[in-house]
Each structure stands twice: as C-alpha cells, then as structure tokens.
Symmetry: C2
DNA sequence: GCTCTCTCTGGGATCGATCCCATAGACCGC
DNA sequence: GCGGTCTATGGGATCGATCCCAGAGAGAGC
C-alpha cells in the first residue's frame, strides 16, 4: 500500500505466486504465512517479518477471489446508475467511489441507461459476484426486492421504489420544489410551466407535488396544461419545450424538473430568441456547472450529488453492519441558488 | 437473463442455494448439474431441463467468485480514470461500461483524482481481484509496468505513458491542436495564448507541439510567455487566466488545452467583462455540453469520449485474445467544431 | 518433577463451481 | 457374442486463501 507498487526482482514469473510459494520460500507452512500476512493469530515477530519480506520480494498479491470464497464476505459493492453522461449520476458515482476507496472497498459500476431489463441483468451480475451491498438509482421496484431476497443490502438513492422495504437516501424534493415555485409566484408569475420527465417515481411525483403545493398555499389556481411530460431525451424534450414556448398563451416562467430538461428548455428558448429573464424566467431542479457559465446564470435547486453518494454509502455500511436495524430513509435538504434567470414577468 | 429477475417461490432461504443443493433437489450429481447449467459436456435433454427448472425454482445464481477461482479467468475488467466529475472521463466510463455489458463483463471502476498513490492502490486492487484486463487514463508510468508484470493486459487511454510497452488509444492531439491554432492564425491572431495543465504527458506535450507547429508552419514567431501552465484545479486556473488576460499586452486569443481550462478562461473573461469574440477569441480542446449552451458557443476540438472508451475496450479484448500480438497505438481523429467564440482580433 | 498456561506452528478441511477421468449401459457391426 | 463407439453420469481433485484444531516446546508455579 504505502510502499507503492513493488514488483518481483527478476523477470515476471510464469505464474502468479500463491501463498503456498511464499510459505515454501520462507520455509513455513501456508497457515503460518497466512497469519503473518493477515496479522490474525500468533506468529513470531521474526517469522512474520521474514514472510512479509519474501512476499514483497516475490511480488505476491493475495487473490481476493479465493479470500472472498473462503470468508464468504466480499470487499466490493455494486453501484447502478441511470446515465453516467449525466453530471448528476457521474457525481453520485464519484462520491461513492471515493468513500468506497477509503473503506478499502472496490466498486462495481454499471449504467442501465434507464432500462429495467439492463437493470435486471446488472442485479443478477451483482448477485453472482456476491457483492457486499448495492447502491442503485432504481428504474423499477423489482431490483430492490430481488436483491433483498438474495440477502444483499440495498440503498436506493435519488428516488425510492421500495418504500419501507429498503433504505433510501434522497433530497427533499417536495419542499425544494415548493420553495422555487413560491419564489416564482412571489415574483408575480402566474403562468408557470413545469417540464418534467415522469410523474410516478418519487422524484417526479414529489417535485410535482411541491410545485402544486406552492400554488395552493398561495391560493392560486393551476393550469394543468402547463405540466408537460417531456421524457428523458434532450432532443425530444427540446422539441416539447419549443412547442410549449410557442403556444398562443405561453408560460412566463418554466420550472424544469432536472438538469437535462433545463438544458432542453434553455436551447428551445435560444432557438426562439426569447431573452431570459425578460421574456422567460427559468429555474431548474439540480444545479450543474453550465448553469453558472451561461448568461444569465440559471436559478437552480442545488442538490449535491457527491454528498448524496457519500450519504448512500455510509447508510449502506450501517446496514451491512446491522442488518436488523429498522429501515431508514435519509432526506438531504437542497438549497436554492438564485441567479439571473429569474425576474418578474413582463408582457411580451 | 431474458426472463428477468426470478426469485424463489417460498420465503427467501436462510442460505443462498449452491449447485450442490440444485443437484440434490434434481436428484443428480454436482457434475451433471454443472453440465446442465453451463451447457458444456453431455447431459440428457430431459435431465438438463429438470436441472434448469430446479435452479430457477430455487433462485439459484452461480457464484462468480468460485467459478473464477476454478477457471482462473475473470469476467470483469478494471477501469481507472482521473475524475468522474469531469464529463470527459465520465463519457469514457460510460462508453466502456456499455461495451463491457454487451460482452457480459462487469466493470470495476475507480477514480484516482490524478494522484499516483491512489493509482497505485487501485492497481493493486485490480491485481488482487485478478481482473481480465485494465483500461486506465494513467497519471504515472508505473501502473502499466506493474500490471504488465502481473500479466494483466492494459490499455492506456487518452494519454500514453508506456509507449511501445502497452496498447494505447488516443486522439490525434498534435494535428487537432495544430489545426485549431492555424485557424486562429488565419483569422489574423498573433498573440495566441495556450493555457495548459501540464506539458510532459502525451496529451499536453502533443497539444503544445501542435500549437507550436502551427506557428512555425506559418513562419511566425511565438512568444513563450504566452504558454501558461495552469494546473488541474478550476479555481486556480481561473486565477491564472485572470492574470493572463490582465497583462499589459494581453493575448487576443486563448487556446485552452482541455474543458476544465476552457471553463476557467471563460469565467475569467466574464469577470473581466471581456466580450467574446470581440475582445477575445477562445478555443478549447475537448468539446463538452456547456460549450454549445453559452452565448457565443465555444469553438472546440471535439473528441468523442464514448467512442474513445469503446475503442479502448475493443483493443483490450483483442489483447486478451491474443496476448502475443504486437503492441498497438490507436489514434482517433478529432474534428473542430466552429462556433461563435472565434473571430478576427480587434484592438481593445 | 509435574502440571498448567501460553506461544507458536502445521495439517487438513472448507468455501462453490468446474473438469478430468473412470465407468456403466446402449447400440452397432461383424 | 465380442470388441468398439457413443451417450450419459458420478467421484474426486482442484483453484487459493483462511481457519479450526491438535500439539510441540518453553516457561512458570508448586
């Protein structure tokens, strides 16, 4: 570890050295060699040093596979996200990866592209590999059930399918959505559109509920035609947004339910030569780097994906340690970062 | 696989079923069960179906660990990148992940944050796990040597440290850099700064060489003070860029050697209220999504990270199949995407 | 001197799947 | 009827590391 990468003195050996070879070279039994290397059980200090020295000289690296098989306990976790090209999921993976490394765990990462079939395949692979636990941004309820049935701890992140059945870590979608919507209402907007990918998962459902709650708290009516389902694809969403903004009675503000949709709305507004915020106010759920690069900056609900990933993995390790503890849902709060994309409405 | 996730009928069993239990339940020996499930060797069709049926009913998932140990051949690859939060590396990982899945391989992913120590740790973990191969964006020459010594196939992506010693997949940094620099020269720019992270790795070295080559091809002198090493951190780079653009004799154009540096320059220009492209032209190596979102768009060398990842993994599998084949360096070409950030220089 | 404890080591079983090899039975040809 | 081929199955060894357990030797206490 600390000594960096040590390699055998001579030429690379034809076969990888095993603990048996280390033991024979050091003149001890495999058992003693194992004790010397792992530090578990009695070994005379001199013997221990000799064995470790031989191991280093031979470039011995213990076979994690064999160890895992014997100990029936793996040192790796499975992580399944929807789209690595989306900075949100990439940040999640980054946070998880870093914490996993600190705990000496390795991370098996898969990207299901939002497909339940791929999700199922990945779940089966995780079971086959006997991972210690799984962190997933689920696209179906099946995966957590399946993994639970195989006694593999699961944490659902970002959205929750198995409420009450497994741990989850999410941001407080409802109150954050309500908060940004209220800000738009306070600025005087009444025709506020919500562009959303789906409305049945906790993310979509809660964000939508927050948006609705803001209206009813203000005692204002809500025009349901302003809630636009735009799917997951940027281009398709851009076309939907284009249609929305070209309506005879267009919205004066748009609340995009995630960063991809915000990008789509931004592009549509550019195509239509709408100036933001004069002709259109825009807010986004999920703050990603381009939002502070464009002019004006985009007001956004900042969820910290790295922190989310870190929370998920610490929840996972708690679950691994105490499998019987009550199921827990962790809610992280999200803060609104106000930038130039929001202003009082003007008649076009 | 195709049937989705099947779970045992009754309650989840106390222990995970092994092939021995499948065999006993089906009334055959482990050998026969193994043959029935893997499809290798003789099995009577009726027996095969019965065994498979039992396996499905019990929710049997073979232990990849045990199989790997016995077969001495793993079905997973290691991937090591520098920074998952950087869309370039995230795209790389996405491309690799997808292709790995298609070939029924799993991906162990680690993020070394640019640190050689973490890189070394990850390499050791990959050796311990006996992965079938490794794809790495190296930060030192050690890792490929080390893995090679342990007879693990390696492909270096994006940059190359072990020239001639292991396979590599890169974009043609030199000619792409030369091409964009020439475009700036043709527009009339003479004071073109290059903002770069480092100059010793193939990426930095070749991009710098391309920039230099464009000047000498045009027979124009180059002011070395315009080559600015700005490191890896966005904020530090932003400060460097700020200094550069505030010089008494500032550049009329900046060539940023990667997307992070382009972001830094963009932010610095915004801070200084420089209008792009009127007061400053900007080009970037590596095209990421924000560059087409800002106004004006940023002219950039588009390298396709997903394609790069795919090329890397197909090279890796070729290497796994024929370990003795001559070492190969694959160069992908990169294309310049011209946007509004480049224009002829004007005196400020 | 004898028992008891403590340190230290090695033998052998074990984890789960695979695979080589032996063998049994069926069937064929001569 | 006998050797030979082909189908089909089970037994046992194997991969590499760990760990339980037996036991040797040393030292202490009486």
């Amino acid at each position: 570890m600390k000594s960096g990468l040590t390699v055998p003195d001579g030429f690379p050996p034809a076969r990888r050295p095993t603990i048996r070879e280390v033991a024979e070279t050091a003149g001890v039994s495999r058992s003693t060699a194992s004790r010397a290397l792992t530090g578990r059980g009695y070994v005379a200090p001199a013997v221990r040093d000799r064995v470790r020295d031989v191991a280093r000289r031979l470039g011995y690296v213990p076979d994690a596979t064999a160890r895992h098989l014997r100990q029936q306990a793996s040192q790796s976790i499975g992580v399944l996200v929807s789209d690595l090209n989306n900075p949100f999921y990439a940040g999640l993976a980054a946070g998880i990866s870093q914490q996993a490394r600190k705990r000496q765990y390795t991370m098996m990462l898969a990207d299901d592209g939002g497909s339940p079939e791929v999700e199922a395949e990945a779940a089966e692979a995780f079971v086959a590999l006997r991972v210690a636990g799984v962190i997933v941004t689920p696209v179906s309820a099946q995966i957590s059930t399946y993994l639970a049935q195989h006694r593999i701890p699961v944490v659902e992140v970002d959205r929750q399918f198995s409420v009450g059945a497994c741990d989850a870590v999410m941001v407080d979608n409802g109150s954050a959505a309500r908060q940004v919507t209220s800000q738009l209402l306070e600025l005087g907007h009444r025709r506020i559109a919500m562009v959303i990918d789906e409305m049945h998962w906790t993310t979509g459902r809660d964000r939508l509920a927050g948006y609705r709650a803001a209206f009813s708290a203000a005692g204002l009516p809500l025009d349901d035609s302003l809630v636009v389902g735009a799917g997951w694809d940027v281009d398709a969403a851009r076309i939907e947004a284009h249609k929305l903004l070209s309506r005879p009675e267009p919205p004066t503000a748009v609340f995009a339910a995630n960063n991809v949709l915000a990008e789509a709305v931004w592009r549509a507004a550019t195509e239509l030569n709408l100036t933001i915020p004069d002709q259109l106010s825009l807010v986004s759920f999920d703050d990603v780097s381009w939002m502070s690069l464009v002019q004006p900056g985009v007001t956004a609900v900042a969820q910290d994906p790295v922190a989310l990933g870190e929370a998920a993995i610490s929840q996972l390790f708690e679950r691994i340690q105490s499998p019987q503890a009550p199921v827990r849902t962790v809610l992280l709060s999200a803060t609104v970062t106000s930038r130039g994309s929001t202003a009082p409405p003007r008649t076009r």
